[in-house]
Symmetry: C2
Subunit: 588 residues, 2 copies
């Protein structure tokens, strides 16, 4: 090794030892008689010391030629530091350097390698290898490493086998858009990259593997948002001979294990809430339970009083914001502007201030008496000092709008503490959702999800009403993952494909292998997939997953560092029997 | 859970407990008054018992309706078995069944689910989920799971970070053929699937991550052999601030750890042999050291005696096969046929029997006296009773031919015990090899491998002579992996690309990001990649990797189970701006 110790390792007990350290020049302070260098590696920072009076001129010249981010190797003696630095573990010592090798010089980096850098997003993406030197990113990737280890430790203890499934699989039109891979050996045919190992993990259950997991890359060719990547990582699991409750308990165990071993916090209450209840109480299937402000339906007390906006609404619904009765006109206007934003789309916002003296002041005072408003407050459980915020209209729409307002108020009031973790199982999802564009039902989870036994009779008569054995794990309003108990019966699977608008031929061509497998002793089974990028970001206290991925792509799906994707050669295209048809290209 | 215990769990101490087991019907024996069923799951087999006299007719009927591979769930009492089966851990008990659920019936499987099945290769590939139920495959995949865990345990202890690198990267013409992935969002452009994360792991070193590993899928679009797959898994590692010796020691540690924890054997001698020595002594850069038969060069003693075949040969080279002097004419003819096979291509084989009485009998007696042959025997260290086998011709060719013969003799003589493990580092590989077809040098390892300092001056004058800081780990004649100390200097990397025939523009277009990175403080670094499929197969005592992969592809790169690759829709092609050009298709 080109070092005897790392830059995070030396302590007072090493004083007088001869050591060799290697790393990057973080900082140089040249006071003439004394020169200090902060030497950095993955493990920490150690201070190097050069005294002009007892350092050879040759070495001094070398030291003075150094710049930021040079890679050097220094030999010397560990000595006690005069002015100790209590902020770093090596702060009690420094190295009195007697020898120095410049292992590689460095140009001045295009941005500073500091916790708060001066580099913009695009520049940092292009020089990702420099951005990754910054401590926040190193901390994120170390967190990811440790979480992967703990995930595997837990699942291994629970008898799960890690089994690798193929990446070159088959394109299926159901679900999101596939990335495809042309086959050279099979002319005109394509593999697809997996959106998830769904069918393979089900086949592993048919094969008797009982408990499977994998931390696995998945691919979706979707238009990207800030928190989506074309390739993402999933903790993918499946279990045989289980009920829904068994799956939930197992993954509560995993989550608890991670919170304990990674964050040192005890999180072991996992309430369950039906999809319907979540939509009614929070207007969302992934409610943030770190704070209250449950929805209150006000139709009874708010309708029939001459305020036509409410009278004509399917739903009048509000939240009680604690302690905000003193909000100024300006603050209330800002909230109205918030709900009127095009992404939210409410027409307006009604407020009721529950004044400390027991009176009420609302934006609809000309329609409602103090008594009326008192009725609202009572219904909402509002106390003196609270603020009621009320929306109305079509039930689904107003709920979604109010959900946004609720989150906004939670953030504004500082109720979204990233060190508090509130998990929740959302259960009893609808099996199907109607898709206007294709004018048919789509599977809400995926086509392999089983319907609830008691709703089976509705599958023909009223498919929209059928609930699924499906569940989502939500933590702090983030959908961390989801799963279901699967269909394991060929006839039911056929029926399901029919409801989803597949002809028998289509179903057979795409999923024939799975339906065949169901005829050879498929056990009851179910599973879950957790978004690993998102889970790590949640543990790291961030919303965006990008800085928890070593080499992410930008919003156009490009890796700007390696400049990919890129054109390939005519020879490659020819070998694949492909030609590229682009209008512009043709015109050239 | 649809069970209280697994089928591998119950012991005499559970006698009288009420239990529920679920699994697959392995075997039914119906003796009229008594029916036994072997119930199987991943964990083992438990015997179920039904006594006709005290079983309800309804239940008996159900039992008699069962067939092989039905999935059932049985409740009953654990009782002591009358005739115990010492071959299975549950052999002391059985279950007196009182309740039975058929969870799923099964058609008769197309082949038997036994250790030695009657199913052919193609059929088993098509019904892979049934083949995977067989114990040999389950054992292989469990071995793979356990090895992955131990690899991670060791590397984590050694401070390696597991860091995921992207799968959608950039196509480069160097090396094998890439699989490419058309980008919809970037018209006419393609990603490539990684042949290895080589450049990314080097960038992680530049980023200061110090020690990286990943168990990662890699892809090569090559024509397939029995032991090659288009996608394969690699234990991929990189370390900064290391010398070659540091890398070797670290991965000797990993190998020793695996042998100890997986096989329970102590393997800690890792000899090093130069490429030149390996070629001279064994005619191979991956010699099997489980047995001797080192090559002996006989030019001195065999040339100049009137035998023109030898006189005109660049090399006369032989092996001494111990104890085979009694080989019959037929056996010797078979060996001659072996070396004459087109894949080996020798013209003939010369033998010398060292008879027990001290005389010699050879196929070239008319050219050589007993004294001459005694000279050969002495040179070869042959004792009475041994057999000398000798080839001649062009040096490289004869060595390769003799290497095949040596392996054949090792196998024939039972010297290749799959429970004996003999690792070896082959070092000092040539940096470059001349490629006749492209009439230029190719990198023997890859273009990022550093030349040995002492050979650097030859890089311009005699590139073929330059040795690399490259090494292969060979165990029992299997190349388990290889690596190198990398170039970390931009100028040297540029020079290397030049030697490999890249123009500056080509080098910049393809690897500009890496050469740029070298300008911002790249540390000295090196690494290794081990073939995980091959390593697991080696530990499992098999040559072929296919049965150590859950869902392998066949020799045409097809997954015959899911029938992939397959055509994709016109709509998909259009979205990707692609069209398929196949002669046959055009004629339709």
């Amino acid at each position: 090794m080109l070092r005897t110790h790392t830059c995070g390792e030396l302590r007072p007990e090493n004083i007088n030892e001869e050591v060799r350290l290697s790393g990057w020049v973080q900082k140089i302070r040249d006071k003439g008689a004394l020169i200090w260098i902060d030497l950095r590696d993955r493990y920490g920072i150690t201070q190097l010391l050069f005294k002009e009076e007892d350092t050879k001129p040759e070495l001094l010249n070398k030291v003075r030629s150094l710049g930021r981010e040079y890679v050097i190797s220094a030999t010397g003696t560990v000595i006690e530091r005069e002015s100790k630095n209590p902020n770093i573990p090596t702060g009690d010592i420094e190295i009195k350097v007697t020898g120095l090798d410049i292992l590689n010089p460095s140009k001045v980096p295009p941005f500073t390698i500091e916790d708060n850098t001066d580099g913009g997003e695009e520049l940092r993406m292009k020089f990702r290898y420099l951005d990754l030197r910054r401590k926040p990113l190193r901390t994120n990737l170390e967190l990811r490493h440790r979480m992967a280890i703990e995930v595997r430790n837990y699942l291994d203890q629970q008898q799960f086998f890690e089994i690798e499934t193929p990446y070159l699989i088959k394109s299926t039109p159901e679900g999101a858009r596939d990335f495809v891979v042309p086959s050279r050996m099979n002319e005109g045919e394509f593999y697809a990259l997996p959106q998830s190992p769904q069918t393979f993990k089900q086949l592993l259950m048919v094969a008797g593997y009982d408990r499977y997991y994998q931390i696995v890359r998945c691919f979706r060719d979707e238009d990207l948002r800030a928190d989506r990547q074309p390739e993402f990582t999933q903790i993918d699991c499946e279990m045989a001979f289980v009920t829904q409750e068994d799956v939930l308990k197992t993954f509560e165990g995993l989550t608890t294990h991670l919170f304990k071993n990674i964050k040192g916090v005890k999180v072991d209450v996992f309430p369950q809430m039906s999809f319907d209840e979540a939509m009614k109480k929070y207007g969302s299937d992934k409610p943030d339970l770190r704070f209250g402000m449950e929805f209150v339906e006000l139709n009874n007390v708010a309708q029939g009083k001459g305020f036509n906006v409410f009278n004509s609404a399917e739903l009048v619904v509000g939240i009680c914001v604690p302690g905000c009765a003193e909000y100024s006109r300006k603050q209330l206007d800002a909230l109205t502007d918030f709900v009127r934003k095009p992404q939210i789309g409410a027409k307006g916002l009604v407020y009721v201030k529950c004044n400390p003296d027991g009176t009420f002041k609302s934006s609809v005072d000309k329609f409602y008496s103090q008594d009326d408003l008192n009725g609202w407050a009572e219904k909402a459980g509002a106390n003196a000092g609270d603020l009621l915020l009320v929306l109305s209209g079509d039930a689904n729409t107003s709920r979604k709008q109010l959900a946004e307002l609720r989150l906004e108020m939670g953030n504004t009031l500082g109720l979204c503490d990233s060190n508090v973790f509130k998990p929740l199982w959302v259960v009893d999802f609808p099996l199907l959702e109607w898709n206007e564009e294709s004018a048919r039902f789509h599977a809400m989870h995926h086509p392999f999800t089983s319907p609830k036994k008691e709703d089976m009779s509705l599958l023909k008569s009223d498919p929209a009403k059928v609930r699924a054995n499906a569940y989502d794990l939500v933590i702090n309003g983030v959908e961390v993952g989801g799963g279901s108990i699967r269909i394991h019966n060929k006839e039911l699977q056929k029926q399901m494909f029919k409801v989803l608008g597949f002809t028998d031929e289509e179903a057979r061509a795409q999923f024939g292998f799975l339906m065949n497998a169901f005829e050879y002793g498929a056990p009851p089974h179910g599973g879950i997939a957790l978004g690993f990028d998102r889970l790590v970001a949640l543990f790291g206290g961030h919303d965006s997953i990008r800085d928890f991925i070593a080499f992410p792509k930008n919003n156009a799906g490009r890796d700007v560092m390696i400049d990919s994707p890129s054109p390939i050669s005519e020879e490659q295209l020819k070998e694949l029997n492909l030609s590229v048809d682009i209008e512009d290209a043709k015109e050239l």
